[in-house]
C-alpha cells in the first residue's frame, strides 16, 4: 500500500512536469528562432546602412579637370582638383581613342588619393600617348563615379569672377587652348565673343576673329564696367568646337 501510494503520488505530478518541459522546449525553440531572426535582421540593416552611407558619399564626390596635356616625351599629364566633400580615391584611368574605327578603349590601374580642395598633378604619367587629338580621358573612383575629359575640346582657363574695372590692374587674363585633331598644336583661327553689356577685350574688339599661337594658345584680357555687376558668358568657337565660360563681374 505504501509503495502504491508513492507511485500514485508521483504520477500525479508527471503531467505537469511533462507539460513544463514541453513548454520550456517550445519557448527555447521560439526564443532561439527569434534571437536568430533579430540578429540577422540587425546585420542586414547594418549592411544596408553602410551601403546607404557609401551611396551618400558617392553623391557628394566630385573632381574637376584642371588640365590634361602631354609631356615632351608623350607621357600623359592629368591635373584634377577635388571639389567634393570627401577624399577621392582614383583607381582606374581610361583612354578612349575616337580616331580609330572602331574606337579603342584602354584602362590602366592607378592609385591616387586626392583630399578635399586639393589638386593633384601628373596622374597617368606612366601612360604614353602617340597624340592628344580625339581622345577622351576617363577617371574612375573607388566609390563608382566616373569623370570624363575630352582632349578634343577648347579650354578657357581664368578666374570665375572679375572686379569692376577702375584701373589697368583690373584686367583679367584668360588663356584659350584649342586642340587639333592630329594632336600637334598649330595656330588656329577662332571667334571670340562676350555677351556682357559693357565687356571689353584688351587690344581686340568684341566680337573678334583671332588665332592661337604655335602652341595652340591665345591669352585675352577682359574687363567689365557694369556698376551694379553682372554675369556674362565668354564664347569661343573654332570650327565645330565651342567653349563657353560664365564670368561674374563684381559690383562697382
Amino acid at each position: 500500500m505504501w509503495c502504491t501510494g508513492k507511485l500514485n503520488h508521483n504520477r500525479r505530478g508527471t503531467g505537469s512536469i511533462v507539460g513544463i518541459v514541453f513548454i520550456f522546449l517550445l519557448l527555447l525553440s521560439a526564443s532561439a528562432f527569434y534571437i536568430l531572426n533579430v540578429n540577422m535582421t540587425e546585420e542586414y540593416i547594418k549592411t544596408v546602412q553602410d551601403m546607404q552611407q557609401l551611396d551618400s558619399e558617392s553623391n557628394k564626390e566630385n573632381i574637376e579637370f584642371s588640365s590634361v596635356s602631354l609631356t615632351t616625351d608623350n607621357k600623359l599629364n592629368v591635373t584634377v582638383k577635388n571639389t567634393g566633400s570627401y577624399q577621392v580615391h582614383l583607381i582606374w584611368i581610361g583612354i578612349f581613342n575616337k580616331t580609330s574605327t572602331p574606337e579603342t578603349q584602354q584602362y590602366f590601374s592607378i592609385n591616387t588619393y586626392i583630399d578635399t580642395g586639393k589638386t593633384v598633378t601628373s596622374i597617368g604619367s606612366s601612360i604614353t600617348l602617340t597624340s592628344a587629338g580625339q581622345k577622351i580621358i576617363q577617371l574612375v573612383t573607388e566609390r563608382g563615379n566616373i569623370f570624363h575629359y575630352d582632349m578634343n575640346q577648347i579650354t578657357v582657363t581664368g578666374p570665375d569672377t572679375i572686379p569692376y574695372y577702375q584701373t589697368s590692374a583690373d584686367w583679367r587674363n584668360y588663356t584659350i587652348s584649342i586642340p587639333t585633331t592630329t594632336g600637334t598644336s598649330v595656330p588656329t583661327y577662332f571667334s571670340i565673343y562676350a555677351d556682357g553689356s559693357s565687356v571689353e577685350f584688351n587690344g581686340i574688339s568684341n566680337p573678334d576673329w583671332v588665332h592661337t599661337d604655335a602652341s595652340g594658345e591665345y591669352t585675352v584680357g577682359i574687363k567689365s564696367t557694369f556698376v551694379s555687376g553682372e554675369t556674362f558668358t565668354l564664347y569661343v568657337q573654332a570650327g565645330s568646337l565651342v567653349a563657353q565660360k560664365q564670368i561674374t563681374q563684381e559690383p562697382g
Binding site: V18, L54, P102, E103, E142
Partner: protein, 150 residues
C-alpha cells in the same frame, strides 16, 4: 499472496489506461516536438538563406563605365565593381532584349574595385547615332542601366 496477485483484477484497467495515456501523450508530444523542431529549422534555414541573399545583394554595386561597339554586331560593356562583395555578370540586355550569344566575360567573377568587359552579340541591330538602353545584371539580381549613343 500469489493467488491474489494473479486473480485480483481490481485496479488493472486504471493502470492500463494510465499507461496507455502516458504512451499516447508521449508519442503525440514527440511527434509534435519533432514537427516543431523540423519546422523551426526549416524556417530558420530559409530565413538565413533569404537574409544572406538580401544582404549580399545589398552589398553589391556595379556601374557600366564604358560601352564599345565594333561597328558591326558586337558590343562590349565594361563593368566596374565598386561594392563590398565580388559580383558575377549574368546577363546583359539591350533595349530590354536579353543577349543570348556571349563572346567573353559572362559568368566571370569580378573582384572588388575591379573592372571587366562583357562582350556579346547585340540582340538588336545597332545603328550609328541611335541611343540604346544597356542593362547589366548580376547573378544576385543587382543591375545598372546606361543610355549609350552608338
Amino acid at each position: 499472496m500469489i493467488p491474489s496477485f494473479f486473480h485480483d483484477k481490481r485496479g488493472v484497467s486504471e493502470v492500463v489506461a494510465s499507461l496507455m495515456m502516458i504512451v499516447l501523450v508521449l508519442i503525440a508530444s514527440v511527434a509534435v516536438y519533432s514537427y516543431s523542431v523540423k519546422t523551426f529549422n526549416s524556417s530558420s534555414s530559409l530565413l538565413q538563406l533569404n537574409t544572406a541573399l538580401k544582404e549580399e545583394q545589398a552589398r553589391e554595386r556595379l556601374s557600366i563605365i564604358a560601352v564599345w561597339w565594333d561597328n558591326a554586331s558586337q558590343l562590349n560593356v565594361t563593368v566596374l565593381n565598386y561594392g563590398k562583395i565580388e559580383i558575377v555578370i549574368d546577363a546583359v540586355y539591350v533595349n530590354g532584349v536579353r543577349a543570348s550569344v556571349y563572346i567573353s566575360g559572362k559568368g566571370n567573377t569580378l573582384l572588388r574595385e575591379g573592372i571587366a568587359g562583357v562582350r556579346f552579340v547585340s540582340p538588336v541591330s545597332i545603328a550609328d547615332g541611335n541611343t540604346y538602353e544597356i542593362t547589366a545584371i548580376t547573378e544576385r539580381g543587382s543591375r545598372d542601366v546606361v543610355y549609350w549613343e552608338a
